[in-house]
């Protein structure tokens, strides 16, 4: 899932300061799962903003709306009327959703209420962790299911740096060292010798470094 964090309240207040009537969009997909921009969070933010503006003596009208997805024309096209009725949209969807809605309604500002952070998983209730950078050339078979591109702070391919300590990353004592995890798994599977293989240079052109990516399936096009 795509994980996002709500922006600080003060920053959101500044974003919508010029407007008296806005629509606050959420999304029923990833940002709902990571408890950032689902129906519940949209309701809370809308109330907070209304109260704040009321207190400031500058009341604001906020319509709440949570489409199924913000990254699909099927769900973005029906938003026309609700966006037309507002001066601006404030969105708690991920960066993809915010942009996609903006692409459809170019005459209205679509403002970000969240900072989109990573593609990750739910470790436990209330804890999410990054797993994939979408580099376009997966090597999880070689590293036994642990991605060094994403989970090593230096994206090292040939083992841990000198700062790996007690299983933790030098950058953050809370973060597991990806290479400690990989080595542990090699050991569990009795294949530590695999570590001796030198991994060749990565071709980063399949990642974002090759420019923004588009995927086309001719057979699916209408």
């Amino acid at each position: 899932m795509i994980v996002a964090n709500r922006k600080p309240f003060e920053e959101i207040v500044e974003l919508i300061r010029p407007y008296k009537k806005i629509v606050l969009l959420g999304c029923n997909e990833c940002v709902t799962v990571c408890a950032t921009g689902g129906a519940k969070e949209v309701e809370v933010l809308a109330s907070e903003l209304r109260m704040y503006r009321e207190k400031e003596g500058q009341p604001i009208e906020i319509k709440e709306h949570v489409p199924e997805r913000n990254c699909d024309p099927e769900y973005v096209e029906p938003l026309g009327a609700i966006i037309a009725d507002a001066e601006a949209a404030l969105s708690m969807a991920c960066g993809c959703g915010i942009q996609f809605v903006g692409e459809h309604y170019i005459d209205k500002p679509v403002l970000p209420a969240v900072n989109t952070t990573f593609d990750g998983v739910t470790l436990e209730h209330g804890v999410w962790s990054e797993r994939c950078l979408g580099c376009g050339n997966c090597i999880l078979d070689k590293t036994l299911g642990i991605c060094p591109v994403t989970r090593c702070a230096k994206s090292l391919f040939n083992g841990p740096c000198g700062g790996s300590h007690d299983g933790k990353c030098e950058v953050n004592a809370e973060t597991p060292c990806a290479w400690q995890l990989i080595v542990d798994r090699y050991k569990e599977r009795n294949m530590l010798d695999k570590y001796l293989e030198i991994q060749p240079l990565k071709n980063w052109s399949t990642a974002h470094h090759g420019g923004p990516r588009t995927r086309v399936r001719e057979d699916l096009k209408l």
């Binding site: 702070a153 230096k154 994206s155 090292l156 391919f157 040939n158 083992g159 841990p160 740096c161 000198g162 700062g163 790996s164 300590h165 007690d166 299983g167 030098e170 950058v171 060292c177 290479w179 400690q180 080595v183 542990d184 050991k187 530590l192 570590y195 001796l196 030198i198 991994q199 060749p200 240079l201 990565k202 980063w204």
Partner: protein, 305 residues
């Protein structure tokens, strides 16, 4: 064989001594000349650090060039944090063109440790791949992209670093084996304070025969104060400072602590010299270069060959 003095000394079988200088945070070349001047005649080569701890300093290559002009044998430290494969190869060619004959290939400290924590890191390739890159340019005359290098090849003595105290400990010797296989000819280790652990690591290194494939220079750092020892113990990633070393510093009067630190460094060198497979020492006297001669002399490593 390259024009490296360090390579000449190591090949001769002599116990090598290297040291290092951190370039200044400014454009004054005199600083590096002065620091290196303190080491003249006491070391075989001088490493120049590459924006160590992610703090911006005068470039390693420019500093090496200055030292080369003064007759030193500089070791160009090069980290993968700040340059992609295009810039790395370009800098290797440039360094070779101005007569720099040694390179030390490193991953580099993460930028969060320095004063530009908001910087974007590169890590296009890692330190092992950088070792292989220098070897490919030098021996195969081929760029990483596959094109042939038609002009002069960079004639470099290739080095790497290893931290025997990093985790997971069981792969630290294998990691050095990978570096040797990639083309590293010498290694300079992380500062050694925990000698028994280093000896254990060396045993693992010898078990897989790596000491016969590359020259191993043991890292030495003298303690300047109890505060510095404590800082290295608690705050420097990958450092192993046993409590008994700090206790020893605490056991002498305050004005004698620095002297005791030098004494510990000399004793450590003498002990490491007995370890089979150790071909030399790399003395990292951090912002204390003036003490290197005393350490080298105290360890009876003079005159230099």
């Amino acid at each position: 064989m390259s024009a490296s003095n360090l390579e000449r000394v190591l090949r001769s079988g002599a116990f090598a001594v290297t040291s290092e200088c951190g370039p200044p945070r400014g454009a004054d070349g005199e600083v590096i000349k002065k620091k290196a001047g303190l080491l003249k005649g006491y070391v075989d080569a001088i490493n120049i650090t590459d924006n160590q701890t992610s703090v911006v300093r005068m470039s390693s290559a420019a500093s090496c060039f200055i030292l080369k002009g003064l007759g030193f044998d500089p070791v160009l430290q090069m980290v993968c944090r700040d340059r992609n494969r295009i810039a790395l190869q370009s800098d290797i060619l440039g360094a070779a063109a101005v007569g720099i004959s040694n390179i030390l290939c490193l991953s580099g400290d993460h930028q969060c440790f320095g004063d530009h924590a908001g910087a974007k890191n590169v890590f296009d390739i890692d330190s092992i791949q950088l070792v292989a890159a220098v070897k490919q340019l030098r021996d195969e005359g081929k760029f990483l992209g596959g094109e042939e290098l038609k002009a002069a090849r960079p004639d470099m003595f290739i080095g790497c670093a290893e931290n025997p105290f990093g985790d997971p400990f069981e792969i630290r010797a294998m990691r050095l084996a990978k570096k040797a296989a990639a083309g590293a000819q010498f290694v300079q280790t992380q500062c050694i304070f925990n000698v028994p652990k280093f000896e254990k690591w060396m045993e693992m290194v010898r078990d897989i025969g790596v000491h016969e494939k590359m020259y191993i220079l043991a890292g030495i750092t003298p303690f300047k104060s109890i505060g510095m020892a404590r800082y290295m113990q608690k705050s420097v990633p990958g450092m192993d400072v046993p409590e008994d070393q700090i206790e020893r510093l605490k056991g002498v009067p305050k004005e004698k602590v620095a002297e005791e630190g030098i004494k510990i460094a000399i004793e450590t060198i003498q002990r490491l010299r007995q370890v089979k497979g150790v071909a030399g020492v790399h003395i990292m006297a951090i912002e204390w270069e003036e003490k290197v001669p005393e350490i080298v002399e105290g360890a009876k490593l003079l005159p230099r060959p």
